[in-house]
């Protein structure tokens, strides 16, 4: 139970530290923030585990009688799972495409909004597509593709091909279409 308790305390610290950092500095890439904070909190989890007594001052003694290594790794795995869930909540819900659409609809209050008006919100004034305009350059920046400056063609790097193959295999296993 100690591993579980420490992992939830560390998770709370992790989430708060990400939020505080986001308010103090201008964040260009949230993925870097989430992962670097996770890397920083990993040793803190282990320090907290070993620096505290077996019952963490509050647990009944019976709850503390577990193999230490098992309990330690169990708590760490729970922390990692929950960190992943927080990350997915941020990118999938808070920053998700569908929730973005819901937000645009809600902003119209009782007027409602047509499909065409929603689409217009995802275009820049010059008509370029906001989704493609940042995603493809971001894939190039993070090393998944290479964009030919002359032709504009996008080619997968080894990293991109690896990620794409895993995704394609997963789509086959789940029996999904192209999705997106």
């Amino acid at each position: 139970m100690k591993g579980l308790l420490i992992s939830f305390l560390v998770l709370a610290g992790y989430v708060l530290s990400v939020a505080v950092t986001a308010h103090l500095v201008r964040v260009e890439r949230y993925s870097k923030l989430f992962f670097s904070m996770f890397a920083a909190w990993i040793p803190l989890y282990f320090v907290a585990y070993f620096a505290t007594p077996a019952n963490v001052w509050v647990l009944p003694d019976a709850w503390s009688r577990v193999p230490v290594k098992l309990d330690l790794m169990y708590g760490f795995v729970l922390f990692a799972f929950n960190m992943h869930s927080v990350l997915d909540f941020f990118f999938g819900v808070a920053g998700g495409f569908s929730t973005g659409l819901l937000l645009e609809i809600l902003r119209t209050r009782r007027c409602g909004i047509t499909t065409e008006e929603i689409i217009a919100k995802f275009r820049q004034p010059d008509g370029t597509d906001k989704i493609y305009a940042w995603r493809l350059p971001r894939l190039a920046e993070t090393g998944y593709i290479v964009m030919d400056p002359a032709s504009g063609d996008c080619r997968l790097t080894a990293k991109g091909a690896g990620a794409a193959r895993i995704a394609w295999l997963a789509k086959k296993i789940f029996n999904l279409g192209m999705g997106g």
Partner: protein
């Protein structure tokens, strides 16, 4: 009992996930989340049964004593977290626009594609229209006189989204450029 709980959670999760994958090939669900949730809920009684009768070696049982109830709690907790991980992985694969781009380039000739070709196959209009249809099917929004409105469920999700955006000081996708 923690050992028993962990092994129970992992084995029951693997079993229902494999069954779910099989079902996806035999009779694909229209609503993937409801299908995953239904399979997860059906697996809950199995957690108790497997935990009760899991064949743990005597050594492991001696090294890891503890109450039956506490071990069962860990079994259910880890089983729930594994469900979350599975659902999240599923939606990474199914919903991600970026993942779709990578796969489209992978399947293109010489694994090279021009953005205009990608956009032709999967335009902004396609992305939005498809998502609006899914949101309508899942009762987050409704259409009245040709205009979209949030339903109660949609309003709730949007409020949670707005709070999260404030909390992490982030912007929705339409404002990122």
């Amino acid at each position: 009992m923690l050992t028993r709980g962990i092994l129970t959670a992992v084995s029951v999760s693997l079993a229902w996930i494999l069954l779910h994958l099989l079902a996806m090939h035999i009779r694909p669900a229209r609503n993937h989340f409801n299908a995953m949730l239904a399979n997860y809920l059906l697996s809950l009684p199995l957690v108790f049964l497997v935990y009760r009768w899991f064949p743990l070696p005597a050594e492991a049982a001696t090294a890891d004593p503890g109450s039956f109830g506490l071990g069962l709690f860990h079994a259910y907790l880890l089983h729930l977290l594994l469900f979350f991980q599975y659902v999240e992985f599923f939606y990474h694969v199914e919903r991600s626009v970026t993942v779709r781009f990578l796969v489209m380039i992978l399947l293109a000739r010489n694994r090279t594609a021009h953005p205009a070709d990608i956009q032709q196959d999967y335009s902004l209009e396609d992305m939005i229209t498809r998502r609006l249809a899914d949101l309508e099917q899942n009762r987050f929004i409704e259409k009245r006189d040709g205009r979209w409105h949030n339903r109660a469920k949609g309003v709730l999700v949007t409020l949670v989204t707005a709070v999260a955006l404030w909390f992490f000081r982030s912007k929705p996708q339409s404002e990122r450029l």
